[in-house]
Structure formats: structure tokens, C-alpha cells
């Protein structure tokens, strides 16, 4: 029995769940961003898997390439911002960066 579409979807759903879990539980800004990466890559798995099982629809592959590119851009900007936070606060603990009151 080969690997079917369901396997891919379950894998991506697990990755998505792990990503959400990381975002909610982690306090370090870098680890939160890693959670975001997991979510983006779970979407990528979906795109490629659906394209594979959908009569060679090229759109899915193109979408995946765009998402990979955007993930790189987003991380570049986010890391620059985190670096700036470190210069101002001397730590990157998301929970303790709360000088703007709720």
C-alpha cells in the first residue's frame, strides 16, 4: 500500500498543531518564530500533496515556492526586529516585553 493523500494531510495537520502549540507555550521570541515556520511548512506540504494528487495541477507547486520565499523574507525582518528588541531590553522574552499596558 502506497502513501496516499490522507497521510500527507494528517502529517501537515500534525505539523500545524505543533506550530500552534509552540506559539502558545514558548516565551522566547525566536522559538515563537520557529512555530510560525512550522505552520507555513504545513501549508506547503498541503499544497504539494494536493497538487500531486490533483491531476498534476501546477498551481500547488508554484504556491509552495512562493510560500517558501515569503517565509524567508518574514524571518529576515522578524529576526532584525528581535535583534532590535534585544538591544533595547537585553532579553527576548516575549512575556516580559510589556511596557505598553494592556
Amino acid at each position: 500500500m502506497g502513501v496516499g493523500l490522507t497521510n500527507y494531510i494528517v502529517l501537515s495537520a500534525i505539523l500545524f498543531g505543533l506550530g500552534i502549540f509552540a506559539i502558545i507555550t514558548r516565551k522566547n521570541a525566536i522559538l515563537v518564530l520557529m512555530g510560525v515556520e512550522l505552520i507555513l511548512n504545513s501549508a506547503n506540504i498541503n499544497f504539494v500533496a494536493f497538487a500531486k494528487f490533483n491531476k498534476l495541477n501546477i498551481e500547488g507547486h508554484i504556491a509552495a515556492i512562493f510560500v517558501i520565499m515569503l517565509a524567508a523574507i518574514e524571518v529576515a525582518v522578524a529576526l532584525a526586529i528581535v535583534l532590535n528588541i534585544y538591544q533595547n531590553y537585553k532579553h527576548i522574552n516575549v512575556d516580559e516585553i510589556d511596557s505598553l499596558k494592556e
Partner: protein, 501 residues
């Protein structure tokens, strides 16, 4: 498969109505070079970007507005034209505002990059208003988001600005992640990313309700984040308070407008069957009650925005919650899901542009002088700077929605569209919310005119140019409160979103 020759001719014909966007890209590239070569000349980049915006606006006025291009992934129609004009006007006002922003000039260093990102962000917004392909929508939203992350932390030595940009980037990354996951699920169910083809697929085939509901809700989360609707509003108050006030004003109008444009186009193109009659209620394809979903979102958004605004002391934060509340009112116009509702959203945005930017300019001018945005420090402003205080009050009256101001007309059309669609309960909630909002807007006026009369008598000096800009905005809010038919006609003509065969 598309043949190569066809592809080239399609590209060439597409470029005809892509000129305004191309001008923005060229402006962006020019700005980078100009910033390197002519650093010494003050505000050179501001002038170049204003020039770019004006040229782009002129091309916009004379282009064909019935075009589908780039293999059906980008359209140019009256609907996107309206939003593009709003975005351009906001851009020009923001550039004018940046000349006087003390925090930007003192802490921003060389302002060259500021305008570069501003132009990049408006390019993203232009794409959002016309995108009809889910991947293009996602890319365009990210283009504007990534510029705005940087802009909100532009004064990087100020702690609260860097905190604002951190919160913005984390919330933004999460919600765009949710959105792309939703898009991938929708792609799996329909086999296409084009909004129009999604609708065609849904009209013929049946999809399971539950996965369809999950995927559309995740996509909606991406839009809700851009328009700062509850429960994706958490970034709004912090970012609005921490970011430079020019960027706060920009985010509250332009990026919200782009978000609403994409939301309306998504609902109309992908999720509703198109009927021949123009003014008809959009028939939605699936069994999900979209009116209810958006109405609930709207009620939550405006109620939370208005109630939390009641005990805010920082004026920027208060205006942030007020802008959440306004997003709720505008969502009422979306919830009715017809062309009348779309027209009322357009009217609202035009009026909102005038009054909200005007209010932010007033706050900026005063806080430049007194060095604080606390409501308490605005006490006695009516005696220290009578003109600015009076104009600020006119703009606040308009934000409340009292006649004879533009805000009243905007709210009136939203409520008319809601009542027309028979959603009486929604209109009642909207009216109650408007009454609540009265309290916190009037609190500002009370502080300006009644409190602190003998505290500090020193007059606040404001440059005449700024007085003229605020005066024009306030005068326009009054003018469009009385003579509103041109805007209404323009909005009605722009309300039908282009649907092609």
C-alpha cells in the same frame, strides 16, 4: 496549458492597466538611488514619493477600468479604483504629516528609508485591492505587512516603538500562517487558487461543509487581522500606541481599507453566485450563513472597541480602540452582502479617511509641543490653542457620527443598508454602540474646553501650514456632511465588483 505566444500577448495587454502600480515600483527603486546620492538634501525622498503618488494617481484616473489581466489573477475595476484613490490620498497626507513629526525627525535619523517603505507598502495595498488569486492576495498582504512591521518600529531607539514592531510581527506572522493554511485547504477542496474558478467549482460540485467552513474561517482570520476585527485585534492598541503617530494614522486608514477591499472581493467572487441584476443580494454558494458569521464578528468588534475605549488615558490608544470600533461599523456594511452594503462601506471609508487622519494630525501637532499624548495633558487646550482645539472637536463630532458632519452621512448609509437587508437587531446594536462612543469622545472635548482653564496659559504655537491642512480636513468633513451626493454617486458607481466570464 497556455501557449507561450498567448502568454506574452496576455502580459502585454495586462500591463496597460498595471501602469499605476508600475509607477509605484519605479518610484520605489528611484527612492533607493536618490537616498544614496542626495542624502544631504532634506526631505528629498518625501518630494520624490509625493511626485510618484501624483503620477500614479493621474495614470489611475485615465486608465481602463474593466480589465482582467495576468491570466485572471489581477483585475482593474471601479471598485479597486475607489480604494486606490483612498490609499493614494492617505499616502500623500501621511507624507505631509511626516514633515512635522517631531519623533520621526529627532529619532528617525535620515528619513529616506521611511518613504521607501511607505511606497513599498502602498504598492502592496494596490495589489491587494485588485488581486483575484488567493496566492496573489496572500503575497500582496505580506508585501504591505512586512513594510508595516518595519515602519512601526522605525524609531528604533524608542523602546515602545520596538516593542510595537515585535508584537506586530509576531501577531502578523501567526495570522498570515493561519491564512495560508486555510488557502492550502481550500486549494485541496477546489483544485484551483483563482477566486472565480473556485466559485465555478463550488457552484457545480458539492464540498463537505466542515472542511470548507474551517478553510474559509482560516482565510477570514487573515483578513480579520488586517482590519483589526475581534478576536484578531490584540496587536492594534499596542502597535498604535507604540508606533510613530504617522504610521498609526496610516495603519488605521490605508491598511484597513486594503483589508476590506480584499475581504469584499473574496466574498463576492469566490463565495457568491453571480446574478444578472446589479443591486441584488449576493447568493452565497455554501450552506454556511455568512451574514450571521460576519454580523457576529461585527458586533463583537464594535462592542469591544467601544467599551474598552471608555477607560483609556492615552489618546493614541483611545483612537486605536475607536478604530477597532469603526472597523466593527464597517463590517456591518459587509455583513449585508449586497451591492448597497458595498457602496455604504466605500462611503464610510472616504469619510473615515478625512476625519481619522485629521484627528491624528491634531494629536500629533499638540503632542509635538507638550511632549505627551495623555488626555490629562490636553486639559485647557481650548485656551492654549483655540483653533486646533475647535478643529479637533469638529473631527471628533464627525467620528461620533453627529450631524451635520461627514461621519453622520457615513453611518447613516451603513445603517440604511443594514435596515434595508432586514437585519434590525444588528442596526440596534450599532446605534447603542454609537451612543457608548459618545462618552469617550466627549471626554476629550471636556478636557480641552472645560477642565484646566487656569492651569497653564502659555499658548501652543502651530505652524500655519499645519493649521491649513487640519482646517481643510475639518472643512471637508463639514462640507461632505451637507453636500454629500458626489461621494454617494461615486460610491454607488464603484460598488459592483468586476465579475468576468
Amino acid at each position: 496549458m497556455v501557449e507561450f505566444g498567448n502568454l506574452i500577448s496576455n502580459l502585454q495587454s495586462s500591463l496597460n492597466f498595471f501602469l499605476p502600480e508600475l509607477v509605484l515600483v519605479i518610484t520605489l527603486l528611484t527612492l533607493i538611488v536618490v537616498d544614496l546620492l542626495f542624502r544631504k538634501i532634506r526631505f528629498i525622498n518625501a518630494y520624490v514619493s509625493i511626485f510618484g503618488f501624483v503620477v500614479s494617481g493621474l495614470l489611475l484616473l485615465f486608465q481602463t477600468r474593466e480589465g482582467v489581466g495576468f491570466l485572471g489573477s489581477f483585475v482593474s475595476d471601479n471598485f479597486s479604483f475607489f480604494f486606490k484613490i483612498i490609499i493614494l490620498l492617505t499616502n500623500i497626507l501621511i507624507v505631509l504629516m511626516s514633515f512635522e513629526s517631531k519623533e520621526l525627525i529627532e529619532k528617525g535619523g535620515n528619513l529616506g528609508e521611511f518613504y521607501t517603505f511607505l511606497v513599498g507598502m502602498s504598492f502592496g495595498m494596490f495589489l491587494v485591492t485588485g488581486a483575484t488569486n488567493l496566492i496573489l492576495i496572500y503575497l500582496a498582504i505580506e508585501t504591505m505587512s512586512i513594510s508595516s512591521y518595519i515602519l512601526s518600529g522605525y524609531t528604533k531607539e524608542i523602546r515602545r516603538a520596538s516593542e510595537a514592531s515585535l508584537k506586530y510581527v509576531i501577531f502578523g506572522a501567526i495570522s498570515s500562517g493561519l491564512m495560508i493554511y486555510g488557502i492550502s485547504l481550500l486549494f485541496g477542496q477546489t483544485g484551483t487558487l483563482n477566486l472565480y474558478e473556485i466559485k465555478n467549482f463550488l457552484a457545480i460540485n458539492k464540498v463537505d461543509t466542515f472542511p470548507f467552513f474551517v478553510s474559509t474561517m482560516l482565510i477570514l482570520a487573515g483578513f480579520a487581522y488586517k482590519i483589526s476585527a475581534v478576536p484578531f485585534h490584540f496587536w492594534t492598541p499596542d502597535v498604535y500606541e507604540g508606533a510613530p503617530i504617522t504610521i498609526t494614522a496610516y495603519l488605521s486608514v490605508a491598511s484597513k481599507a486594503a483589508g476590506f477591499a480584499a475581504l469584499l472581493r473574496f466574498l463576492k467572487l469566490a463565495l457568491s453566485l453571480h446574478t444578472e441584476t446589479v443591486d441584488s443580494i449576493w447568493t452565497m454558494v455554501s450552506s454556511i450563513d455568512w451574514t450571521l458569521v460576519i454580523a457576529v464578528l461585527s458586533v463583537l468588534t464594535m462592542t469591544l472597541g467601544n467599551i474598552v475605549a471608555l477607560w483609556q488615558n492615552n489618546l493614541k490608544r483611545l483612537l486605536a480602540y475607536s478604530s477597532i470600533a469603526h472597523a466593527g461599523y464597517i463590517l456591518m456594511g459587509v455583513a449585508v452582502l449586497n451591492d448597497t452594503g458595498t457602496a455604504s462601506v466605500l462611503v464610510y471609508f472616504f469619510m473615515y479617511l478625512l476625519m481619522n487622519i485629521g484627528a491624528f494630525i491634531c494629536v500629533m501637532l499638540v503632542s509635538n509641543e507638550i511632549g505627551s499624548e495623555d488626555i490629562k495633558d490636553f486639559e485647557g487646550l481650548g485656551y492654549r490653542s483655540p483653533l486646533i482645539a475647535t478643529l479637533f472637536s469638529v473631527l471628533l463630532f464627525s467620528l461620533i457620527g453627529l450631524p451635520p458632519t461627514a461621519g453622520f452621512i457615513a453611518k447613516f448609509y451603513i445603517f440604511a443598508a443594514v435596515l434595508d437587508a432586514g437585519l434590525i437587531w444588528l442596526a440596534v446594536v450599532g446605534v447603542i454602540n454609537s451612543v457608548i462612543s459618545l462618552y469617550y469622545y466627549v471626554k476629550i472635548m471636556r478636557n480641552m474646553f472645560i477642565r484646566g482653564i487656569d492651569k497653564d496659559k502659555s499658548t501652543i504655537r502651530v505652524a500655519p501650514v499645519n493649521q491649513i491642512i487640519v482646517f481643510i480636513l475639518a472643512a471637508l468633513t463639514l462640507l461632505f456632511g451637507i453636500y454629500f451626493s458626489p461621494i454617494i454617486n461615486w460610491a454607488n458607481a464603484s460598488a459592483s465588483i468586476l465579475v468576468w466570464k
